[in-house]
């Protein structure tokens, strides 16, 4: 092999990925940036509109509402997920009977299709005939408009999303818990520490990096909330479950406002990046 071919071979070897990257990642990103300055409904030629899409975005009450809805979802979903996952991980870290079975059982919803889970919960949440309301009625309590009451719809989706994803975070917390040296607890036992004291003074500080990782992962996952409102509520009632991604999708693929949809997407991506950067700063600070 001569010197020239030696230089070319590495490039040839990485070229499949480079080609893939250029076609499926770099080009779409650059194209969507170009789109933000245009009006385009796919079938007609693009029209240059300057900053119109950006100006529209600032005044778009639906987009602002969709961001607000997404933040409400995150505000409910993340703490709920952490508390439940941590509690379950703590329990499953003990020597309990059928530990292996429970670990598997809690992870099961994670691998079930999001669409299947959503349809299942839609049935459970049914206002007149859903199982949850039937139980409430049986207990002599009033019905809850899980998906039909604007103030309940997003919390209901957050509860479902927590049920679906909690297994993954249980595993992450379990890994975190197992890295805590046992002698710390033994020393605390000798000092007569209570269970809560051990949890708050030893466990929590030791698994802080895991908590932050869970927060970051759930934030990114939560920002991309789409399947659940798309299937369960279509963004209703009264736009109370209209998530940002669902709104971007509607603009793009219901109305074919490709330029505006790209603008929303770009803005939203920047927003997620900003939030994750802030979280990263916190993590670094903690370290």
């Amino acid at each position: 092999m001569n010197l020239k071919s030696k230089k070319i071979v590495p490039y040839l070897l990485v070229s499949p990925y480079i080609i893939y990257f250029l076609i499926f990642i770099a080009f779409p990103v650059l194209f969507s940036i170009v789109l933000t300055f245009h009006k385009w409904n796919i079938i007609s030629p693009m029209q240059y509109t300057g900053l119109t899409n950006y100006i529209h975005l600032i005044h778009d009450e639906f987009f602002i509402k969709s961001i607000g809805n997404t933040l409400i979802f995150l505000a409910i979903h993340i703490p709920l997920q952490i508390i439940i996952a941590l509690f379950l991980a703590e329990v499953l870290n003990q020597n309990i009977k059928f530990r292996g079975f429970f670990r598997g059982a809690f992870f099961l919803p994670v691998i079930v299709s999001g669409v299947v889970v959503t349809i299942l919960w839609q049935q459970l949440y049914g206002f007149d005939t859903g199982l949850l309301n039937r139980i409430l009625i049986f207990l002599g309590l009033g019905r809850i408009g899980w998906l039909v009451d604007p103030s309940w719809a997003m919390p209901s989706i957050a509860i479902m999303a927590t049920w679906k994803n909690v297994g993954l975070y249980v595993i992450l917390f379990l890994v975190g818990l197992q890295t805590v040296p046992k002698n710390y607890y033994e020393a605390a036992d000798l000092e007569g520490a209570t269970h809560w004291q051990k949890f708050s003074r030893i466990t929590m500080p030791m698994i802080n990096p895991t908590i932050f990782m869970v927060v970051v992962l759930s934030t990114i996952g939560g920002f991309s909330l789409f399947i659940e409102p798309y299937i369960m509520t279509g963004g209703g009632p009264l736009n109370s479950t209209l998530s940002a991604v669902l709104y971007i999708y509607k603009q793009g693929f219901f109305y074919y406002h490709m330029g505006y949809s790209a603008t929303l997407g770009l803005f939203f991506a920047a927003l997620i990046l900003g939030v994750v950067m802030i979280q990263k700063k916190f993590i670094e600070k903690e370290k």
Binding site: N2, K4, S5, I8, L12, N41, I42, I43, S44, I119, Q122, Q123, G126, F127, D128, T129, G130, I137, R143, G145, L147, V148, P150, G234, G235, G236, P237, L238, N239, F253, F254, Y255, Y256
Partner: protein
């Protein structure tokens, strides 16, 4: 080594360009491609028509394939338009999409083809021709088939409620609903059966099954859009919103989505629904023993006079500009929708051909004798409307849907307020 690689790359690029060019340039003008809908019955119909045509016209061939599978046929057609891979003829185009495609310049203006005008006036009423004429004066679609939306009702329940006929006016509908509700309150005091149901969805097309047919019925087929302005800010739309709002407010219609489970109409959970003729074969196949159903027109305001219109979900035929021989395409379409083939379509698919005097034409008499439930649809076919020939109808229906939800389902706005707000937004949409 480098030279070898460059040679290989050049060869591949050359081969690809040859393949692409040949596929573009070598279209035989006497061999066209036709896409049909992809449901089983329509595939069978398309196959039959194409085979018959090819037998009689060996030198003017048509190849047929169902529209490729996708989330919706509309999405596939859009992708084909963008990729310039459209068929020459497409027979399942929703009327509301045609104006957008016409404006994009991808459809053939059919009125420029020889014999088109004579043919269309012999097939359709002048109202139908007017309905499919674009604001630019051209016609880009051939009205083909319709599925009128009507009130499907459970005959046993209507009889049980002591009614001589299904409810025809708003007040009859309300009083029947009240009676039915009184009989269906469970031991905990909650309603577990409803007189009617319309999917509680904000999605724009859901309004084809509630607001829009009711609006057409109340208004005698008035337009939704006229001269690029909202034409629905009138008493009829307000009356429809009031009627529907009352149904939800009194729990005559369920607010929860019931569509994910077994057929709620056949299970007796609801007594009526707004739907089309496609339900007949399904209901006949799966209905429990003794279950009887029928269809009637959409309910109208108590003081309504004159014919009762409805929405007909029209699917039309278009020729794309990529077609190398529009005259041949038109000749094939004329054959495909002649009387004999319309009867075939009716027999195979239970979808109504959009042609004049269907229920009185002797050619169709036997069919209606054997399918008595379809007579109601054939009679209704005289008084149906599709969509107005304006662009952005998806957004128009979405705006109405948003207001519908706020007013009808959740009672957050009065009907007048909701209609006014929807009209304002639609006017703004067309001003942009």
């Amino acid at each position: 080594m480098t030279k070898q690689w460059i040679n290989i790359v050049v060869l591949i690029v050359f081969a690809l360009s040859q393949i692409t060019c040949s596929s573009k340039n070598e279209r035989n003008p006497n061999h066209l491609i036709y896409w049909s809908s992809n449901n089983t019955q329509e595939i069978e119909f398309a196959r039959y028509v194409v085979n018959e045509w090819n037998k009689n016209n060996p030198s003017r061939k048509i190849s047929f394939q169902p529209v490729p599978e996708g989330q919706s046929s509309e999405e596939i057609i859009l992708a084909a338009v963008v990729g310039k891979t459209t068929p020459d003829i497409y027979s399942n185009m929703w009327q509301g999409d045609v104006e957008d495609y016409a404006r994009a310049g991808v459809l053939v203006a059919l009125d420029t083809l020889k014999g088109f005008k004579d043919f269309i006036y012999s097939r359709c009423d002048s109202n139908v021709v007017k309905e499919v004429t674009s604001p630019d004066g051209h016609i880009y679609q051939i009205p083909w088939k319709i599925n009128p939306i009507m009130l499907m009702y459970n005959k046993n329940i209507i009889k049980h409620l002591g009614l001589k006929h299904p409810p025809e006016t708003y007040s009859q509908f309300d009083s029947a609903s009240e009676k039915f509700k009184d009989e269906n309150i469970d031991k905990y005091g909650y309603v577990d059966k409803w007189f009617g149901y319309s999917e509680v969805l904000v999605t724009w097309w859901q309004r084809f099954f509630d607001f829009y047919p009711l609006y057409l019925a109340a208004s005698g087929g008035a337009p939704l859009i006229k001269d690029y302005k909202a034409a629905f800010d009138n008493k009829y739309a307000v009356e429809v919103f009031s009627f529907l709002r009352n149904l939800y407010a009194h729990n005559y219609f369920a607010k929860e989505r019931l569509s994910v489970r077994q057929d709620i109409f056949l299970a007796g959970v609801i007594a009526t629904r707004f739907t089309g003729p496609w339900e007949i074969s399904h209901a006949d196949k799966f209905k429990p023993k003794g279950f009887e159903f029928d269809f009637t027109h959409m309910p109208v305001p108590d003081n309504h006079r004159g014919p009762i219109y409805t929405y007909c979900d029209p699917k039309n035929i278009v020729i794309f500009k990529t077609c190398p021989n529009a005259q041949l395409a038109w000749d094939f379409i004329k054959y495909m929708i002649n009387e004999k083939n319309d009867l075939k379509l009716l027999k195979l698919t239970n979808q109504i051909p959009r042609r004049k005097n269907l229920e009185t034409d002797s050619l169709f008499t036997d069919y209606f004798k054997n399918n008595p439930k379809m007579i109601e649809f054939a009679k209704q076919a005289r008084y149906v409307k599709g969509t107005d020939p304006y662009p952005n109808l998806t957004e128009v229906f979405d705006i109405i849907s948003q207001e519908y939800e706020a007013c009808v389902i959740y009672g957050k706005k009065s009907p007048q307020e909701a209609i006014d707000d929807a009209a304002k937004q639609v006017n703004l949409l067309y001003m942009k």
